[in-house]
Symmetry: C2
Subunit: 184 residues, 2 copies
Amino acid sequence: MDFSAATLLVVDVQRGIDELGPGQRNNPQAEDNIERLINAWRDSAKRIVHVKHNSVSPGSPLRPEHPGNAFKPQALPVTGEDIFEKTVNSAFIGTGLEQHLKENNISSLVIVGLTTDHCVSTTTRMAGNLGFDVALVSDATATFAKTGPDGNVYDAEQVHQINLSSLDGEFCQVVTTENVLAAF
Amino acid sequence: MDFSAATLLVVDVQRGIDELGPGQRNNPQAEDNIERLINAWRDSAKRIVHVKHNSVSPGSPLRPEHPGNAFKPQALPVTGEDIFEKTVNSAFIGTGLEQHLKENNISSLVIVGLTTDHCVSTTTRMAGNLGFDVALVSDATATFAKTGPDGNVYDAEQVHQINLSSLDGEFCQVVTTENVLAAF
């Protein structure tokens, strides 16, 4: 993929994510990498699409009326950048995102955001299955530790890496921030 | 969920899956558990929907003209059971499955099939995000070892369990064959 010709899709980089969990997170540098990528896109006047989660779950920090719904400072949209709001994990369900991308002849996406195994994975899977060429930036996404239905606790880095291994080559190409920035 | 009132969704239980990989698989008993669940559904005259993957990838054992496209003997559909054919991982993309379920007032699904982290995960995620109440049967699905983009090899059971931990409580309830059969 020619990264510099792709649209940057920024998924759920919102303050309330920090209140999710519970527990340990990986990739503390993810938001800074997202900011570097956003800046590269802006510097070359390429298209950025932001996705925002408006939770409908009681008590979620991502509900629209909660301060946690706000974008993190590293991923604040600016005038001219589109924002698609959603209520489920996939950015393609209940939104006009697919139609918007197709109407604008966008065929390739570079995906970043939070969290690796929930909204990012689901959006990446649907993007690939809907026919888009997708690159997922491993160090510009992150997740939390999880307790499995088997009762075992899996640390955040394990959950992150194994989810990437399930996506890579099947739904997307997994790349790094440096891989992408090298194209600019 | 009242399992006995749900529709059983059987994903990609096809012979060619055995030729995928490469490598080690977990849950060798998955197909036998799928057969036990299918029999329980048939014995109580509940609805079963089969999903079949017709690959469009060159050389795939799941291409329609390849013998591997056939259903495995444990999951052969019988007259009166619907079959939805797909070309991507999600059973909801490029098929009439969502409309079929909604037209038939089906709101809850028990999902089984192959493989955990590709077609089963993607179908489970979309089913949950589309508003269905979903149970995923952990020992009636299986997957293969994977090499991650980090270069590490993850064994099949690790890939399976961590993918389930990412799905459980977010997109579905992860259950066992015995949990489900107890409702019949």
